[in-house]
């Protein structure tokens, strides 16, 4: 097992740089903390390296032992973390192409992570994020996915370019919207569907709504709007995908 004791070590600096989106994008790598997420990465074959200051419960080929000081430097957590994984991003291809979600400018990492977790729960095949959606590999977003990001491809695309391609392929693209929209009972379940969820404050952009095949609204009883992750959960439940083989 390799050991590193110096805070100035080049590899420590490399790990720390993964807190910045720029370096995550360059390297295709990101960090996860804690046993649950690491186990998910390992199972999905996306774990590259384990860093610990004690010992690891996982039998893994590449483990580096570091000091608690180095651990504290790499970790984003306020309390002590004893296990950090360097992970590879999942490949950007969806094997099944029946159910997609498209995220148009989601800003809160917690909402993004929860939407991805829910997409996996309801058998969706891929998540497409607009260029201005917040970064998935941010520590809070990763945590909110509860490991689901190792089970579904999440891709960044210009949605205005993507939507016509999906429609050509046979997808019904449905934007969630409060205006001139239909309720779930008015929009039939079909084989290929893509649902667009919008920014927390602004909703789905007008241009994206206009490009969509239909607009869907969740009927609310009170005056209050729904959190986007809750609205997304209801839509994904109602239009859930088939069981994974």
């Amino acid at each position: 097992m390799e050991q590193i004791t110096s805070l100035q070590n080049k590899r420590v600096k490399e790990w720390c740089s993964l807190h910045q989106k720029k370096y995550r994008d360059q390297t295709g790598r990101f960090l996860v903390e804690g046993e649950h997420l690491i186990k998910e990465a390992l199972t999905a074959g996306l774990l590259e390296e384990l860093i610990t200051d004690t010992e690891t419960p996982f039998d893994f080929r590449k483990v580096t032992l570091v000091t608690p000081q180095i651990m504290a430097k790499i970790s984003k957590n306020v309390s002590a973390v004893h296990l950090i994984g360097v992970c590879r991003k999942m490949e950007e291809t969806a094997e099944r192409r029946n159910r997609f979600i498209l995220l148009d400018g989601i800003q809160d990492p917690g909402n993004l992570g929860t939407l991805i977790r829910t997409a996996v729960s309801f058998g969706f095949d891929a998540v497409y994020c607009s260029e201005d959606t917040c970064d998935l590999f941010n520590e809070k977003a990763v945590r909110s996915t509860q490991g689901a990001l190792f089970h579904i491809p999440v891709m960044r695309r210009n949605l205005k370019d993507l939507i016509p391609l999906l429609q050509k392929e046979g997808f019904a693209v449905i934007s969630t919207s409060l205006e001139e929209s239909h309720t779930p009972s008015q929009i039939a379940v079909t084989d290929q569907m893509a649902f667009v969820f919008g920014n927390e404050g602004q909703g789905v952009r007008k241009e994206i709504q206009a490009m969509s095949d239909d607009r869907l609204r969740i009927e609310i009883t009170g005056f209050e709007s729904l959190n986007v992750a809750v609205a997304g959960g209801i839509v994904m439940y109602l239009y859930r995908g088939r069981e994974t083989e």
Copy 2:
């Protein structure tokens, strides 16, 4: 308009003490930050006092002008806040008694706030929190409600005492659970229903499940579990209450 310039002023200390649950419980008062929440409190008649270091867009009888230093001391926000409201908790009575949610040990303030916001959206009449559910008047929980806490009574109760009372009143008490449970299509919508949502890690306590009239499970397609606020959203949508008059 009253003015306070000293950080040592007794009232500044009183306001700061409202960051602690103990004093919120003692006084029945809590703080909210930002225009949206204050507007909601004002509309609901639950605003007691406004504190600002600039001016207020609201025409309100009791405004205190303070220095930016005092504002920074009272605020929980990292960026500058110019408007803080001292609010009164809503009265602990539900006028309509058709749809309740019961929260058994919810730990995350964001989840708690989102569940309350969703309850208002779907016409629920009250929220009951177990004694070990996190505090609603915590800043993050308040923010996550988006003001909904001024529109629905939220009460703290021993759920084991409460459930038999609700059942006697005619309520069907339904616990969410993965084990020995029914799907939504198997549980009929009735006039009086109370749904129990459980702790993020442990779910609804076994004793509470055993006291319930039925157990409800949201069918998932993947292996992944749902975030409790998302599961709650789906259940409250499917069993939503009537329009408020």
